[in-house]
């Protein structure tokens, strides 16, 4: 299926959970934050939040800034 990931189209087998998506992307769930369709996803919901065709997912972390 195709989702919108960090602003770009992204092909992946799905539906899948946020947890699975992060694992697939090799992203350590600690020290990132995830938005699913404009809603922040609490960390304890990663296992239960399903990402479906066309969903928007944002994964952010901290970078240098002032």
């Amino acid at each position: 299926m195709t989702i919108r990931l960090n602003g770009d189209p992204y092909e992946i087998e799905g539906p899948l959970t946020i947890a699975t998506l992060l694992a697939h992307l090799k992203i350590d769930p600690r020290l990132v934050a995830v938005e699913h369709n404009i809603e922040v996803v609490k960390r304890h919901r990663y296992e239960t939040t399903m990402v479906n065709e066309g969903d928007e997912v944002e994964i952010v972390n901290f970078v240098g800034g002032g």
Partner: protein, 262 residues
């Protein structure tokens, strides 16, 4: 043990200098500069994870979180909505429910949009954030932000990254005279004396990034800024001499072994 700490929203900081994490030649230099600066609060930006290049080492690996408090910011946001959304994500990373709130109103000056800033402050305060808004040197908007629940007000000294120093000292002095929350001068510092001046005006702290990160020697400049903030604070408390147009002798005018008189 610091007898004159900076206290914001009940949290005590040993240093009155808050620094950034952007524009450094390397993460390693940044880490050294942070140590040199003595800062125990640093601000970070919230951005999309780089998916194409996972190798990229994490900024946080270079920040000693046992010693340094993380202050996520909303730099780059041009609407209240974007700033609120970014603040929420920053909090969700799980290190802090504080936010250096920026809502930019102009791309050239990066001056704040104070109306959107006030709106975003109200929303985030309601959601339990500790909000430190970056604003301009306007005592009226500073008071409104304070009334909206801001934990501190952070008027700019000059445009971000301009290095011009405090452009309007009187406004900073007036803001401090009226504020009941800490006043942090945010942006505009170029060199050590600028930081000292901010503190001599009565500011409770100074936040800077470019002046250190882009100095030829960031670590040396970080040390300079640490000393300058302490110097300015001490001078403010020590009670400076008044200014006078003419001179006043430092040595006795009696007991001279001379015939001459002026």
């Amino acid at each position: 043990m610091n007898s004159d700490p900076l206290v914001i929203a009940g949290r005590t900081f040993g240093s009155r200098l808050v620094v950034g994490t952007g524009k450094y030649p390397s993460h390693a230099v940044m880490a050294d500069a942070h140590v040199a600066s003595g800062a125990d609060m640093v601000t970070v930006a919230v951005r999309r994870v780089n998916l194409t290049d996972r190798s990229k080492e994490s900024l946080l690996d270079y920040i000693d979180r046992d010693r340094i408090f993380i202050l996520p910011n909303t730099a780059g946001c041009y609407t209240a909505e974007d700033a609120i959304r970014t603040a929420r994500l920053g909090r969700e990373v799980g290190l802090s429910n504080w936010v250096k709130l920026e809502v930019i109103g102009d791309e050239q000056t990066l001056f704040p949009d104070n109306i959107a800033l006030l709106e975003a402050t109200r929303v985030l305060v309601r959601e339990g954030f500790v909000v430190l808004p970056y604003t301009n040197d306007d005592p009226v908007i500073c008071r409104k932000l304070e009334e909206a629940g801001a934990a501190a007000v952070m008027p700019l000294g000059a445009p971000i990254g301009s290095g011009l120093g405090i452009q309007n000292p009187n406004n900073i002095r007036i803001i401090k005279a009226q504020a009941r929350v800490p006043v942090i001068v945010d942006a505009g510092v170029g060199t050590a004396s600028d930081a000292a001046i901010a503190m001599e005006l009565g500011a409770d702290g100074v936040l800077m990034n470019t002046a250190i990160a882009l100095a030829t020697d960031p670590v040396a400049m970080a040390t300079a800024m640490k000393l300058a903030v302490e110097a300015g604070r001490l001078a403010f408390r020590a009670g400076r001499i008044p200014m006078r147009l003419y001179a006043s002798p430092s040595s006795p005018v009696e007991g001279l072994v001379t015939a001459s008189t002026p």
